[in-house]
Assembly symmetry: C2
Homo-oligomer: 137 residues x 2
Amino acid sequence: MKLSKTSEYALRILIYMAKVPDQLYTAKQLVKELKVSDKYLRRLMTDLSKSGFIRSIQGRDGGYTFIKSPEDILLYDIIDSVEGMEKMNGCLLGFEKCSCTNPCAMHYLWVDIRTDLNKVFRETRLSDMDFNKILRY
Amino acid sequence: MKLSKTSEYALRILIYMAKVPDQLYTAKQLVKELKVSDKYLRRLMTDLSKSGFIRSIQGRDGGYTFIKSPEDILLYDIIDSVEGMEKMNGCLLGFEKCSCTNPCAMHYLWVDIRTDLNKVFRETRLSDMDFNKILRY
DNA sequence: TTATAATACTACCTATGAGTAGTATATATG
DNA sequence: CATATATACTACTCATAGGTAGTATTATAA
């Protein structure tokens, strides 16, 4: 009942970058600041590029920068692209056929929480972060 | 961002048993009703016995029955014994040192949700379930 | 055009959650 | 006491998330 490490990393990285969005960030710098293992971060950055949040610039003086404005990126989008948001929206007890018309014993309790959870992620933009708070490990 | 399958199974099983709490349930019967794989369910039942929710009766005419009243079992206790509840209560971004005095950029948003989440699990007893709802796969 | 400094890719390794197989142990009942 | 029918235990297998190593590719700038 927590985000995958990869989602944590993705959020850390993009929130960190969103503080000064127009800058170009090298993998080296992000690794140093955010303490994510080098190779794993690089692979994740490639994924985030393919997902359209950032773009990578190869070659000397390369790095990563936003291709989409942080104002247009929801936390939901990030988590969804990394680990899939459907996981979160299934039945708490794992019943395939659970729904409002055929609810499990936990259904309504769980739907309430789940709705709030989704709401937070769907309504929070990368630009809404409180950048005065800690952004590094 | 979901419960482990093992937690799902534990909840399914105990909620199912709580509908008629004084009965003795065999692994065979639970496997059939709840569609959890035989050997895995048996191992889980042993764990739940060791955790003090149920007790096992070996030998012919054996099975499992509650040793603790469903009224005294919180969903929190079950999940905690199976996968550990601390996991849920860490920083969303995975920062070790994140706290209210040294919050990350997501801290307060996350604390609110997390509190509600904990509340549901801490305040719901096994006896509070709506047993008219679906309890089997 | 060559050296340098960046990202991309392929193929592994490792730990863990989930599931399975086989055997040992317990006990009620004929 | 023997047998049938339960659970308990040990040790595997399998899939996947996370992490690592080495090499290839790209592009700037001297």
